[in-house]
């Protein structure tokens, strides 16, 4: 039998007394660790936000105020004139209809390129992951190597190819170029995602009698929303921000927004209208910015989902 009296001095009893640490460990808000951590975060955030602040502030000032040189001070008199001018009347070359032309060109380039490249790449990835055809590995390696060849090497050959098939300088040509260059990274993304899906699901669908397209459309597609979101973000921002292909493969009246922005900002004639330049730049960057804001969380989740298994 246990002696009851001896219990009172046992460690067991001491623990029950309420003496000593108990419950959650107290945390100090102003610990050295927290000061370092949040201090660094604030400094870095300011560092990255400052240019954006300057841009917004400057775009809302009139030219006389800008000439005073206080670039960090908020506008004394807020004006939206520069924004209107940047969108509707700024001149590039012979056209004086502002960025609006470039905006619609970019939309006409981005939407079909995104749809086309994702449609093809997702089927590629699905075929590579689930239908291990002969030579699948070699095909995949060739595709991935394609991602490492510098664009500059391919620019001129593609100019010739587009010229020969008669679509040089058209939006169609640029859409095709974007779709092709998106292929390696997107295929890799989709292949990895589909590989991470349970193999037995695919087998079950085969026993159920679904074929290549049946399994893709009815089983795989409904399960892969996250990776499609990632692909859409990658492509929208990538194609929207593209300058090189835009300037090489289009003509002035089909220039995408980025090229037009460059032409506005870098024009050598007349006065430098900093406020218009800033407004034009923000307008151009607005699309990717909005895409990130809307889908930030999904983006991270999808990237993680696609990256875990190789």
């Amino acid at each position: 039998m246990v002696d009851i009296a001896s219990l009172s001095t046992s460690p067991e009893a001491l623990r029950r007394d309420g003496a000593g640490p108990s419950g959650p460990k107290p945390r100090h808000v102003l610990s050295r660790r927290n000061i370092f951590l949040y201090g660094t975060l604030v400094v870095v955030a300011l560092y990255y936000l400052l240019p954006l602040y300057v841009m917004i502030v400057t775009s809302l000032k009139g030219m006389p105020e800008i000439r005073l040189g206080n670039i960090f001070s908020p506008p004394m008199e807020i004006t939206f004139e520069p924004w209107v001018k940047a969108w509707a009347t700024a001149c590039t070359g012979l056209n004086c209809d502002g960025l609006s032309r470039g905006f619609w060109n970019s939309v006409r380039i981005t939407v079909p390129s995104v749809i086309l490249s994702i449609a093809i790449a997702s089927v590629n990835g699905y075929a590579l992951a689930n239908w291990r055809f002969k030579g699948a590995d070699s095909f995949f390696i060739i595709l991935i190597v394609g991602a490492f060849i510098p664009y500059q090497v391919m620019i001129y050959p593609i100019v010739i190819i587009l010229r020969e098939i008669g679509i040089y300088g058209t939006l169609t040509g640029l859409v095709i170029v974007h779709s092709i260059f998106g292929m390696p990274i997107l295929t890799l993304l989709f292949r990895n995602y589909f590989t991470s899906m349970p193999e037995e699901l695919f087998r079950a669908a085969r026993v159920d009698g679904a074929g290549f397209w049946g399994i893709y459309l009815r089983i795989m597609l409904p399960m892969s929303l996250p990776i499609f979101v990632v692909a859409i973000i990658l492509q929208v921002t990538g194609i929207w921000n593209d300058f090189l292909f835009g300037v090489v493969y289009t003509r002035p009246d089909t220039y995408p927004m980025t090229v037009q922005l460059n032409n506005i900002v870098n024009s050598v004639q007349g006065v430098k209208e900093y406020n218009v330049n800033m407004a034009a730049t923000i307008l151009t960057g607005l699309v990717p910015l909005i895409v990130y804001f809307i889908s930030g969380k999904l983006f991270v989740r999808g990237i993680a989902a696609g990256a875990v298994k190789g």
Binding site: E200, L201, R203, A204, D208, G209, A210, G214
Partner: protein
């Protein structure tokens, strides 16, 4: 090998499968009778699941032929083979409701709506999943999911069911429940079923015949009791039975009264049934005896062979107790009723009947 089956439901002839230079299945032959429940049993990597995938048509075979219901299906697509398959991970389509899961194959095949509804109703009734039909798989428990997965095979109205370790993802209690349900299902449907597992209890309880596999080769194909009592080699003997069979190394003394001899032990083998005339050649051998075939105490005295020993370790297992001791310097375990109180170091008397033992060639591992 069992007798020829006249009209096999599934017949596998000289099947081989190689992945590059690796040979996974080697000229394998297997005939499954109509309505038979056959279990492919073996450790992981023995090729049992691979064989099942070959039968299902999910893997292209390297050589040989597969017949299902007398039809050569070697080059057929899975859907045209008349099979239904149940997977270990359930493999339910996550974005579809249970009902859509069940009907998927039928919709792909383009069956009329009335027929689909009829078949789903029947399967749901048999498996008692009617209340779950409108739920998504994520809202089901493991046991319910596996029931739906079985239902998906059921609605296909096929001749042959293939089970790929269907209970391995479930906890022990559910596993036992579903095992009984599968057995009842088989009795009700009378379909041919081929069932892959590494769990010997599932194999023993479910099978009409068990095919024990190792290294892509069927080691023994027979009724569960035969496999348990007369394993053809040391691998089969060791794989079936828990706690495992005891193995004592020693020497076979041939002659009119063959004996098994090890350090200080000599077991007369007069009552042991040798395969052929193996009893006439002396050679190194392994003496195998299951823990439940060793008698203890009073019962030991009446056995043809008895020995004195001491208790080394006692493992209480609830229903009975496993006692470890030594015989001729080699470790031996035996089962006693749970109410026997034994302590380490107790002197005991054990006995055994060589008729229930298995003798294996030390070199080849084959039964003598």
């Amino acid at each position: 090998m069992a007798a020829e089956i006249a009209n096999p439901s599934v017949s596998i002839q000289d099947l081989s499968l190689n992945f590059g230079a690796v040979s996974v299945l080697q000229t394998l032959n297997l005939d499954v009778a109509e309505g038979e429940f056959i279990v492919l049993l073996g450790p992981s990597g023995c090729g049992k699941s691979t064989l099942l995938n070959c039968i299902a048509g999910l893997l292209d075979i390297s050589e040989g032929r597969i017949f299902i219901k007398g039809k050569n299906v070697t080059w057929e697509e899975p859907k045209d083979r008349g099979i239904g398959m149940v997977f270990q991970s359930y493999a339910l389509y996550p974005q579809m409701t249970v009902e859509r899961n069940l009907s998927f194959g039928l919709r792909v095949a383009g069956l009329p709506k009335g027929e689909i509804a009829k078949r789903i109703a029947r399967a749901a009734e048999i498996l008692q999943i009617e209340p779950l039909l409108q739920r998504k798989p994520s809202a089901l428990s493991g046991g319910q999911r596996q029931r739906v997965a079985i239902g998906r095979a059921l609605v296909r109205d096929v001749d042959v069911f293939l089970f790929d370790e269907p209970l391995s993802n479930l906890d022990a209690k559910l596993r036992a429940e579903l095992r009984v349900e599968i057995k009842l299902l088989h009795r009700k449907l009378q379909n041919t079923m081929i069932y892959v597992t590494h769990d010997q209890i599932e194999a023993m309880t479910l099978a009409d015949r068990i095919a024990v596999m190792k290294g892509g080769v069927i080691q023994q194909l027979d009724a569960p009791q035969t496999i348990y009592n007369r394993p053809v080699n040391r691998f089969v003997a060791g794989f079936l039975g828990s706690p495992a069979m005891n193995f004592l190394k020693g020497q076979l003394e041939a002659g009119d009264a063959p004996m098994f001899k090890a350090d200080g032990v000599s077991v007369p083998l007069g009552r042991y049934q040798f395969e052929g005339d193996n009893g006439h050649t002396a050679k190194p051998c392994v003496f195998g005896i299951r823990p439940e075939h060793i008698a203890f105490g009073e019962a030991a005295s009446s056995m043809p062979f008895t020995a004195e020993s001491t208790v080394e370790i006692v493992d209480p297992m609830g229903s009975d107790t496993l006692v470890w001791t030594k015989l001729g310097g080699q470790i031996l375990s035996f089962r006693v009723e749970a109410d026997k109180t034994l302590r380490n170091g107790d002197a005991i008397r054990i006995g055994l009947d060589p008729a229930r033992a298995s003798l294996f060639d030390d070199q080849t591992g084959n039964r003598l």
